[in-house]
Amino acid sequence: MSLPSGTFAQDYAQDMRLMRTKAQWGSMGLLLVFLATIPLWASDSNLTTATIIGITIISVHGLNILTGNCGLVSMGHSGFMMVGGYAMAILSAKVGLPFWAAMPAAGLIAGIVGVLFGLPSLRIKGFYLIMATVSAYFIIHWLILQFRDLTGGTDGLSVPTATFFGLAIKGKATYYYLVLVLAVLATLVAKNILRTRAGRAFVAIRDNDLAAEVMGVNLWGYRLQAFFIGCVFAGVAGALSVQYYSYANVEQFPFFDSVWFLGMLIVGGMGSTSGVIYGVLAIKLLQLLATKIGPSLAEVVNPQAAVGLSLILPSLAIILFLIFAPRGIEHIWGRFRGYYQAWPF
């Protein structure tokens, strides 16, 4: 991270701080104030978009730890979200757990399922692992549809309104705040996991797994840990999404979402926590753009234009980033920041 000149640390704790300058604190404060005031002026549909973006950010943080940092590419991430979502629905609707207990439990269950499907990662990597996670998605999808008594099958499962110590979480604005708090928390947790021993081990495994093993990194344990952490994030996000619609359905977690999650990492910048946020924003806003200009195109081409566009626009963005800026928005932004900080040199 490049800092303005004159910023220096006198001890290790200072050096490790996330916020180093007053300007950083200031801009972070402004950002949080901006995020907190969104429900006051945004329209209903924009608020929904903001909430969904928040949920997606939580999920992609998990994928970033798993794929961006540990190098284990998962294309079944929305499958693990589905596990979390259904765990939430079953625990709160059938078992009757309160919201604050069901949510972490959903994350935990998704994490355990993730570890199960992460087991092949001990032997395989690259393309083979991608295929294993793709099959994980379809197997989870099928299992959920099979156990009708528990999950409601294709009919889905409705979820009661969440209450938090007697307060009902009702209405879009309240839910937005819940997601906002959790997304900020998830960002902090993700950032800090990457600064621990485990986070450094993940990066070592990503860069060269054989070398990491020789240096004493326990591949077996850390790979499964990465799967667990990544899927816990996915599970929490899935639970939030189900709770938001008060309804769990397999259609909520389509396979192509997993692809978009990876695309978000590429567009934002693999392995960087802030890159996750940029990437999610970029792809989600492109999809929003497609639904906005789709209807006007529908008269010219055909009624399905919006669907086609919402596939083409993000795909094109991913293609262009892969060719011209494989390190993503995070890198472009870093270069720009370095440039103006060093200006006029």
Binding site: V73, M131, V134, L262, P314, I318, L322
Partner: protein
């Protein structure tokens, strides 16, 4: 017994389709070590192109086939030149994401141009049904069988007896040495993509003629990846064998096991993925794949 044979025969049809997609995949992987997830989308594109040329423009069959092949050659070449060549030397994920994004673009274009609807052009292609006693072989199987036999024979001959085939085999073996020997590896890559596009698109035209075209056709491409993994990523023979095997196994599993499932099965949709994850756990390089030793 008749039930079993009938299931096996319909499975054969599906298997042929799998094999056709898998062959295109293997050709690209053999030459450039790139994973083409969009192979199923070439098939879908072929189906829609066939619909346009045969049913909308009413061109004769031979002219349509030539036109479709021309489109495929252009599409394959353009995709390789613009999208894949800048990625030479990039990590695996970059190439995979590129082909998935290409799949997204192709699917989006198909939706924009054809509305993503189910289209048929049944009566244009000759429909032949073969009856063997109590079992009838549907035209899908026959067409799939004929086309993949022709394609595979042509490819085998090309790989074995032509100069360009030799160059492709050499590039598959070691790209740097090949470049050193004065062979243009980029041309080989382009050719691999063109061949894969043509194989996919021609298969799409024929299959579309038999069972109609829809966006869902491309999803079979995802299932066909199970075939590639079962057969080994770099074996054309393995792709065909595994395609047939998986098609038949899937159909048998659906026929015999679906009634035993708690809510009516749907085993056919998930079966290739179960096989895939089992193969990956037990024998990651597939039945006929080349085992690579990794050095640091």
């Amino acid at each position: 017994m008749t039930f079993f044979l009938q299931l096996a025969i319909t499975g054969l049809a599906l298997g042929m389709m799998y094999a056709l997609i898998a062959i295109g995949f293997v050709i690209i992987f053999k030459c450039s070590q790139a994973f083409n997830i969009a192979q199923g989308h070439f098939v879908m594109l072929g189906g829609y192109l066939g619909y346009t040329f045969l049913a909308v423009l009413h061109l004769p069959v031979w002219l349509s086939i030539i036109a479709v092949i021309a489109v495929a050659v252009v599409a394959g070449g353009v995709i390789e030149r613009l999208a894949l060549r800048p990625l030479v030397g990039q990590p695996v994920l970059a190439v995979i994401m590129m082909t998935i994004a290409l799949a997204g673009v192709l699917e989006g274009i198909a939706i924009l141009l054809w509305g993503g609807e189910y289209k048929t052009y049944h009566d244009v292609l000759p429909a032949i049904t073969l009856n063997l006693g109590a079992i009838s072989i549907p035209p899908e199987s026959l067409i799939g069988l004929i086309v993949s036999t022709i394609v595979v024979t042509l490819l085998m001959l090309m790989f074995r007896y032509t100069k360009i085939g030799l160059a492709m085999r050499a590039t598959a073996e070691d790209e740097q040495v090949t470049r050193g020997a004065g062979i243009r590896a980029t041309m080989v890559y382009a050719l691999a993509w063109i061949i894969a596009a043509v194989v996919g698109v021609v298969g799409g035209v024929l299959l579309g003629g038999v069972s109609g075209v829809s966006i869902a056709m491309s999803e079979i491409g995802l299932k066909a990846l199970a075939v590639v993994i079962l057969g080994g990523l770099d074996s054309i023979g393995g792709a065909i064998f595994a395609g047939l095997m998986l098609g038949i196994m899937e159909n048998l599993a659906a026929g015999y096991l679906d009634p035993l499932m708690p809510s009516g099965g749907g085993l056919a949709g998930v079966f290739p993925f179960i096989v895939m994850i089992l193969v990956l756990m037990i024998k990651p390089h597939g039945l006929f794949g080349l085992k690579r030793i990794e050095r640091v």
